[in-house]
């Protein structure tokens, strides 16, 4: 099982039957492949609908927020961009799953910009993190060169301040305590020790007294 699959599988277990969920582009999209039996979620797409399904017949008028052809489930509904963000900001989306460049000890998230290098724009990410009831970040634990991505303080421009509820990596599951009170390591992946997670994390991690092995 590769890192991405571990992350996607674990996040899938966080979603409850009937949840309305917005999945970011890339890894987060994989989450819907690993939902437990009996758990049906409704996917919201910020370009204007709920009820996103895998594509069957390509319809040029129907794409997801990444511009890729998709389908619709029975019960889907289309709307305009304003209504889409009424849903998102208004607390009508139960969870959003996004990738991250950096998360810090206060639950700050940076995932939209690397000054001078990558400036694609924030799209709907800033609204999603300020409005979704639960913000789950799914990302590899460290950058490709091994440097930590879970930091004391983000140094990249923020997507949102104090917005992250949960971080899932291939090494473990970390819960963010509200009000900037720190990070708790709640689960470690099979074969991974808490010490290894701590070594690869710049922010201080408190080990949960109920630490368990990551459910997959």
């Amino acid at each position: 099982m590769d890192s991405k699959e571990i992350i996607a599988r674990r996040i899938a277990l966080e979603l409850k039957d009937g949840n309305v969920v917005n999945l970011g582009i890339g890894l987060p999209t994989m989450v819907s492949n690993y939902l437990p039996k009996g758990v049906n979620i409704l996917l919201q797409s910020e370009n204007g609908f709920v009820g996103l399904a895998p594509v069957k017949d390509v319809d040029p008028d129907l794409v997801n927020a990444g511009g890729q052809p998709v389908g619709l489930v029975p019960g889907a509904a289309m709307f305009d961009s304003c209504t889409s963000f009424m849903l998102i900001r208004g607390g009508h989306v139960d969870a959003t799953v996004l990738g991250g460049l950096q998360v810090d000890s206060k639950g700050n998230l940076a995932n939209w910009m690397v000054p001078g290098k990558m400036v694609p724009g924030m799209g709907g990410a800033m609204d999603l993190v300020s409005g979704a009831k639960k913000v789950i970040i799914g990302m590899e634990h460290t950058a490709k060169d091994g440097t930590p991505k879970i930091l004391v303080n983000c140094d990249l421009p923020l997507t949102g301040k104090g917005v992250v509820n949960m971080i899932v990596t291939e090494l473990g599951v970390i819960r963010v305590i509200p009000e900037g009170l720190g990070l708790i390591l709640e689960e470690t992946a099979p074969g991974v020790t808490p010490e290894e997670v701590i070594a690869k994390t710049q922010a201080k991690l408190t080990i949960s007294p109920n630490l368990t092995t990551m459910k997959l």
Partner: protein
């Protein structure tokens, strides 16, 4: 009043330096005939208000490649590397705005409101230069309305008065932009007689639509 006009007459209304809203999301819901004609007319120094700049070969993206924009007000540049290049080279000014805030600012401009308070962007660089208000212990940014000289929109169906119906995810920014520009030009895939769309099925009233152009179909 006859609202159905030729593509040439529609383009007469757009001049160098105009601020233009264009509907669509990564190319879907752009008005393809109007965008292609804009390129042919080669109007310059446009300020674009749209969700994104799509792809170099798709929709609005072609306006970037053809260097017709001086400024783009968007939520992201799409997968258009040329927008990124012009932005970094200083040839094109790009204002990046959170998508929900962009949509709401456009609605605000069309609704006669003076601004609104949103939690989006608090504590980020989006806050720069904006007023922050704290109400009931929660922080909000004061965001201002956005309007344009011209809106170029796409609808699946229109009656000759300009009542509009949209299809699937091509709806996106089109309905809200219809309220927020001085001149609203809609390209419709299908144009029907007045009375052929049931009043309950109209998604945007023709009251806000100035001109209609028959689409040629296909993508921009």
């Amino acid at each position: 009043m006859e609202k159905v006009i030729s593509i040439e007459k529609a383009l007469d209304k757009i001049n160098d330096g105009a601020t233009i809203m264009i509907g669509g999301f990564l190319g879907v819901g752009n008005p393809p005939t109007l965008v292609d004609a804009l390129i042919k007319k080669n109007v310059k120094n446009l300020t674009l208000i749209a969700n994104d700049t799509a792809r170099p070969d798709l929709g609005i993206g072609k306006l970037v490649v053809n260097k017709q924009l001086k400024k783009a007000i968007v939520s992201h540049i799409g997968t258009n590397a040329e927008t990124g290049r012009q932005m970094i080279a200083g040839e094109l000014s790009v204002d990046l705005i959170p998508q929900g805030t962009l949509a709401e600012r456009i609605r605000c401009g069309g609704a006669g409101l003076g601004g609104f308070l949103t939690p989006t962007g608090v504590g980020t660089i989006v806050e720069d230069g904006k007023q922050r208000l704290v109400l009931s212990g929660k922080s909000y940014l004061l965001e201002m309305p956005l309007r344009a000289d011209i809106a170029l929109l796409y609808a699946q169906k229109a009656d000759k008065f300009g009542n509009l119906v949209f299809r699937r995810s091509s709806r996106n920014f089109n309905p809200i932009m219809a309220f927020a520009a001085d001149v609203v030009i809609v390209e419709a895939k299908e144009i029907v007689e007045i009375g052929q769309i049931d009043p309950d099925e109209v998604m945007v009233t023709g009251v806000v639509v100035d001109w209609l152009v028959q689409g040629k179909g296909g993508n921009a």
